[in-house]
Assembly symmetry: C2
Homo-oligomer: 400 residues x 2
């Protein structure tokens, strides 16, 4: 018997090896099932204009609004597979719906893995048929492991609370962006909760939380064809619904944001050979969109990334990235901090007697860089990783 | 006596160690001097909004239009140095002007090296005073070596021709973008010619040539604070002036573009540990600006860069980069070639019986990637390098 842990009322999970991956020790399929007919679903998807067939299928389900089952396979991304890929995604949805006696419109399908290959449909269908025997409310961790591709560790977190006297649970499971096989560089994350929501509140809270966390990761600036974040809320807790701006709404948004920030940091640190997760915060830009430009210019700069890896407080590279970001800045107004150490004041380097404190700070795994532009009130932050030998190793040695 | 080679009528050169760099075997200052009072100058500069003091000084000289002397130091970039940096750049200009009996408005100064440090002015001034003894028409190669920072080899090229019965020479010398010390990641290039130009023709031909060559290099997507390309044309050849659209204009533009393309390729291949120079050509985008977005998304993608280093024909990464470029594309219309091998047809991967020919092509030092979007007539190309272990080594191990 598996330990009773991470159960979420009204949800069942499964995760096992069905034969998509060659290595039988690696799980390659996962299932998240809700027992409640009126389980609300929402989703946030890749902004890449080249996107995989399952993303199209999920978008359609999210539009309709009810989600009972998520089928996730790893090993094959079903991306750049044309009409055949779309047919396969729809067939997966149909077969799973039949097996679980659901409407196909309530079944979501996700794929992560190699781009360009088509799904091994007969293997996948066998896996779906077998899944009912593998499913149970205690198998959360199997699902967590089932969505992993080459993540170095499973990524999940849970939180609980009470609303109108009813206890509720929120659980998150995720797999990383930028993994061992870069064709598997898909970020997938699933939120499951027994909270009762009205649709509008669910959408707002969910999208706010994703926007401040998972949408702000930059491992290598590349956006996957398959990135998908879904939430299922089955209402089993029986709480009274609440508005976004109520005390309860704020409580849930804070909890969900913290859970997803935890995932964002874990994904960043598990990103292709990364040794650091650095929060880059921009203040005083002309507006938010300019702050965002600056944050991503720093976060995607290979020179800044290698400096982080080398534990080098190289503020010249940060300044150069701010300068080419495309945002309106005035050099003489720029201030830069690494942690609490100011390194640039009014556009010029800050001379310091000893570099010891700064050099010690640079060795931390979790770090901050802050830039104040003194141009306006625009703010933005992102999470960035460093760029390491392992990144090159993982990405250059991997062959299609 | 040095060999008589690469002389350009009416120009003198110098390059030697004056003491800015610790290693006395390394030249750290270079001079380009024109004997002709009416030597025309034009320049193209970094678009980075954080730019070094000497860039401001050069921009002012270019506006006035006459350039007699270029003083280039390597080792210290004089960037992010505030008012002191500006004073130092102006003093360098003034001291050199006095030494050579020129108007300060005719003296250009360039710096390349570490960001944040101020120029060692007394050392630099001694170097300027000594330079007249080191100068001569046969010392082109000394200047070429004098502007090198950590380039692995000197970069120069020359061409000759005849216009209205007069022989002329065009010479180019350059140092690379993305060098051993990444704070020295400045691209500097100088064109010297004895051609007689009218100002408008000079500007048009020069800027067209730079735009199609040096402006299209992406080593790591980072734009330096000091990038500078200058042309001096002293008119000594005595040819009749010509228009841009004349046969002579086309001849000169073709020659200059070829010389600068040669520099662009050499700089790319000498970029931070690069092993490949890949020309990325986009066709059929909605317009040129969209084609440019796609080209740079591919050229700056660490995943594409590592695939090139790994000699892996990973078209999935190319497709993903096209997708997130921000350009309007339709997945099903995309076609991708690596060399002459089509790898994506109408958005789906091309199956091939044998990968041998493609794998052999991937081992080449000079490569091509071509994308046709079938959306319109927009075209653009760039030169990209790969991303290697040496890049990480050079950039992470280097400390400020």
């Amino acid at each position: 018997m598996k330990p009773k842990k991470n159960t979420i009322p009204g949800f069942q999970f499964a995760g096992f090896h069905c034969g998509i991956k060659d290595d039988i020790r690696k799980k390659d399929i996962a299932f998240i099932y809700s027992e409640e007919p009126n389980t609300l679903v929402d989703g946030v998807f890749t902004t890449n204009k080249v996107f995989a067939a399952p993303v199209t299928v999920c978008r359609d389900v999210v539009k309709k609004g009810i989600g009972r089952l998520i089928v996730i396979n790893s090993g094959v991304a079903n991306a750049c597979t044309g009409m055949k890929g779309m047919q396969d995604a729809l067939q997966t949805q149909k077969v799973a719906a039949k097996e679980y006696a659901l409407n196909p419109n309530e079944v979501l399908v996700c794929s992560t893995g190699k781009i360009g290959d088509t799904l091994p449909m007969s293997t996948l269908i066998k896996g779906i048929r077998r899944s009912k025997n593998e499913m149970g409310k205690n198998y959360f961790m199997d699902a967590v492991r089932g969505i992993m591709t080459t993540d170095q560790y499973p990524k999940y977190a849970t939180a609980t609370g009470t609303i109108s006297g009813k206890k509720y649970t929120i659980a998150v499971l995720a797999k990383g962006a930028g993994m061992l096989c870069p064709n598997m560089a898909t970020m997938l994350a699933y939120v499951v909760t027994d909270l009762r929501f009205d649709r509008k509140t669910l959408k707002t809270i969910f999208r706010n939380a994703v926007d401040k966390t998972l949408n702000r990761i930059t491992v290598d600036g590349d956006t996957s064809t398959n990135d998908t974040v879904l939430i299922l809320a089955n209402g089993r807790a029986g709480n009274k619904t609440f508005s976004v701006t109520s005390r309860e709404g704020k409580q849930v948004e804070t909890q969900l944001t913290a859970l997803l920030e935890d995932m964002a940091r874990k994904i960043t640190l598990d990103g292709e050979g990364a040794t650091k997760c650095c929060r880059v915060e921009i203040k005083g830009a002309k507006n938010e969109s300019e702050a965002k430009k600056i944050a991503y210019a720093i976060g995607n700069s290979p020179l800044v990334k290698t400096a982080l890896f080398g534990c080098d407080p190289n503020w010249g590279r940060i300044m150069a990235a701010v300068g080419y970001s495309g945002a309106s800045i005035v050099q003489e107004k720029l201030n830069v901090w690494i942690g609490s150490h100011q390194v640039v004041k009014n556009g010029s380097g800050v001379k310091r007697k000893s570099m010891d404190a700064l050099n010690t700070y640079m060795k931390k795994r979790d770090m901050d860089i802050k830039v104040d532009c003194h141009m306006g009130r625009g703010e933005f932050f992102i999470f960035m990783s460093d760029l390491t030998y392992d990144y090159i190793h993982l990405n250059a040695e991997y062959h299609t």
